[in-house]
């Protein structure tokens, strides 16, 4: 499989990255080079193989159902959460108008 300019434009749009025409042109051969190379995985017989889900066997833990059990990752951190926002207004994240 190989990608063309239209496909790369579609991927970039899915990834929410703005690209110029010139960047698109440059990316097509680069991405095709990488994709052609990874396609060699197709030659491996994996018909009886399960895809890996955990690299080291581990069990999923449940935490106690307690509010703010860990104060660091609990609630009540509005100022800290907003501290690095490019636009923080009235205790919220500010974004461009999304409703007409």
């Amino acid at each position: 499989m190989s990608v063309d300019t239209a496909t790369v434009a579609k991927i970039a749009s899915l990834a929410r990255i703005k690209v110029t025409e010139g960047e698109l042109e440059a990316m097509v051969p680069e991405l095709n080079g990488i994709l052609n190379w990874v396609e060699q995985l197709g030659e491996v017989d994996t018909s009886n193989v399960e895809p890996m889900t955990a690299v080291i066997p581990n069990t999923l833990r449940l935490r106690e159902d307690v509010v703010d059990a860990d104060p660091l990752t609990g609630g009540g951190k509005r100022e800290e959460v907003l501290a690095n926002a490019p636009v923080a207004e009235h205790g919220f994240f500010g974004v461009p108008k999304v409703i007409e």
Binding site: I11, I17, Q40, V44, I56, N58
Partner: protein, 494 residues
């Protein structure tokens, strides 16, 4: 008086404890080296001399009161700028996080401060840890302190932990944190004559570490020798309920149990790692490593890891796929850069912000990841890669039925020149050919400096161990180190 910056972790810890020198003297000496080398090597993105001094003063005060100084008491370190540090800029070497000051501390860095270490500064790296040469940082290349004999050409310190490797090699820090996703601790260690270990996946908490590929990312120490790595890894590791993949296991006393006697141990030599057209110097060093481990009492056998050739393409599907998902969080809303063109709507803002904030290699990987995860291609690429990953992991499990550790080169070549591989992403990716398989299987692996190339550049040997057996890896590393007697240092030109 001894030059304190020539000392390693154990020597500083013991010297401070014994009162041979103070922690403040150590911090001042390293702070001076950091400042003097910044222009030439660009190893740090931010220097924090006041943090190093503050921790050192606390250690000296504890000593005056007769209190325990901790595993890393009085040792100043460099912190890779992938670890969130409270109120100190944390960028992952990206423009999109420029100015980001976390309001929390990563678990690994907090563990180090709790153990008495101090922070010299935040170390430069490849942007979002994506790279093998430190040429993708928004804050400029790190320059290796090493040079080829008779040449002034700038060399790569390796990547992605290139600031860490350069800082330790140039004696700007006795040790530094690194992170390893496909070789980002081991390859830079090999390029700079330093020692680094990636522990078993889950040993070190990923909480507060800027995520690249979550199923692969693992933190580890980079230092002058094996003992220093053992000490620092003990301080970094430990169960953390805030990381769902953290191992709920006690941290062993790796330092105390170090032993270079490999009697009764079996070392496997994977035949698939002996590739056509391999650098003769690397082959010779590998053979030398076999002889050293035999001399240490080990039995050496040939083993087979049949899916080795598929490890890199597997990695270059899985890592970008996870990256495209992890990096979706950089949206110009919650933190970091925002680019809002005149009259733009929310979607335009996302796209403009990410276009301006991510470097070329980061964009390339996000696009690859987005493609392999997209409808219609998911099974052919991503699911197939996860199946091959299972086979790669099974190869190691079978091999470890016959052997205790595996010996291989760390890298296919010595350090290359800056600019040599930038125009060809694939040739850059091939640098990780020997390091990626252990990452895909989540295994502990380390690089030990073992010799010099004909041009006078460091070469590393890699030890790969069973899950949870960092001790076996460190012991084999110690046995190599004791025989390699690697004492070469880059001649100071900076």
């Amino acid at each position: 008086m001894t030059d304190l910056t020539e000392l390693g972790v154990a020597q500083i810890r013991d010297g401070v404890k014994a009162g041979d020198f103070t922690a403040v003297e150590v911090a001042e000496a390293f702070n001076a080296n950091v400042a003097a080398a910044q222009e030439a090597l660009n190893a740090f993105i931010v220097a924090t001399p006041e943090k190093a001094l503050e921790a050192a003063q606390a250690t000296d005060a504890k000593r005056a009161k007769g209190e325990d100084l901790g595993k890393m008491g009085g040792v100043p370190i460099g912190m890779k700028d992938l670890f969130a540090t409270f109120d100190v800029q944390t960028t992952a070497a990206s423009h999109i996080l420029e100015g980001f000051k976390p309001q929390y501390e990563s678990t690994v860095s907090q563990n180090l401060w709790n153990a008495g270490a101090g922070m010299l500064g935040k170390l430069n790296l490849d942007q979002f840890a994506m790279g093998s040469s430190n040429e993708t940082s928004y804050f400029g290349n790190v320059i290796s302190p090493w040079r080829k004999q008779g040449s002034n050409a700038q060399l790569a310190p390796g990547g992605s932990s290139g600031g860490s490797s350069a800082a330790v090699a140039a004696r700007l820090a006795p040790a530094a944190t690194g992170t390893d996703t496909g070789g980002s601790i081991r390859q830079p260690a090999a390029f700079t004559g330093t020692t680094g270990i990636k522990p078993t996946y889950g040993r070190c908490s990923r909480w507060g570490v800027v995520a690249f590929a979550s199923s692969l990312d693992q933190a580890g120490p980079m230092a002058k020798d094996t003992r220093d790595c053992a000490i620092m890894l003990e301080a970094m590791a430990g169960f953390d309920p805030k990381d769902a993949t953290s191992l709920d296991l006690p941290v062993p006393n790796w330092e105390e149990l170090l032993s270079a006697d490999l009697s009764g141990k079996t070392v496997g030599i994977p035949r698939e790692y002996r590739m056509d057209g391999m650098d003769a110097e690397i082959v010779a060093l590998w053979d030398q490593g076999v002889a050293w481990l035999k001399d240490a009492g080990a039995k050496v056998i040939d083993i087979s890891l049949p899916h080795t050739k598929y490890a890199l393409p597997t990695y270059y599907i899985i890592a970008p796929a996870e990256a495209s998902s992890n990096l979706a969080r950089y949206d110009g809303v919650r933190y970091g850069l925002r680019d809002l063109p005149e009259g733009a709507n929310l979607q335009d803002m996302y796209a403009a912000t990410r276009a301006a904030g991510f470097g070329e290699e980061v964009k390339r990987r996000i696009l690859i990841g987005t493609y392999v995860l997209s409808a219609g291609f998911y099974d052919a690429y991503y699911t197939q890669a996860q199946k091959v990953r299972t086979l790669i992991s099974q190869d190691f499990q079978k091999a470890f039925e016959e052997c205790d550790v595996i010996l291989a080169p760390t890298t296919p070549t010595p350090a290359f020149a800056l600019g040599e591989n930038v125009d060809d992403p694939l040739s850059m990716y091939l640098n990780d050919v020997f390091s990626v398989p252990a990452s895909l299987a989540g295994l502990p692996a380390m690089s030990v400096p073992a010799g010099l190339s004909k041009d006078g550049l460091p070469l590393g040997l890699q030890i790969i161990g069973k899950s949870f057996d960092e001790q076996g890896v460190l012991n084999a590393g110690l046995a190599l180190e004791a025989r390699a007697q690697f004492t070469a240092k880059p001649e100071k030109w900076w």
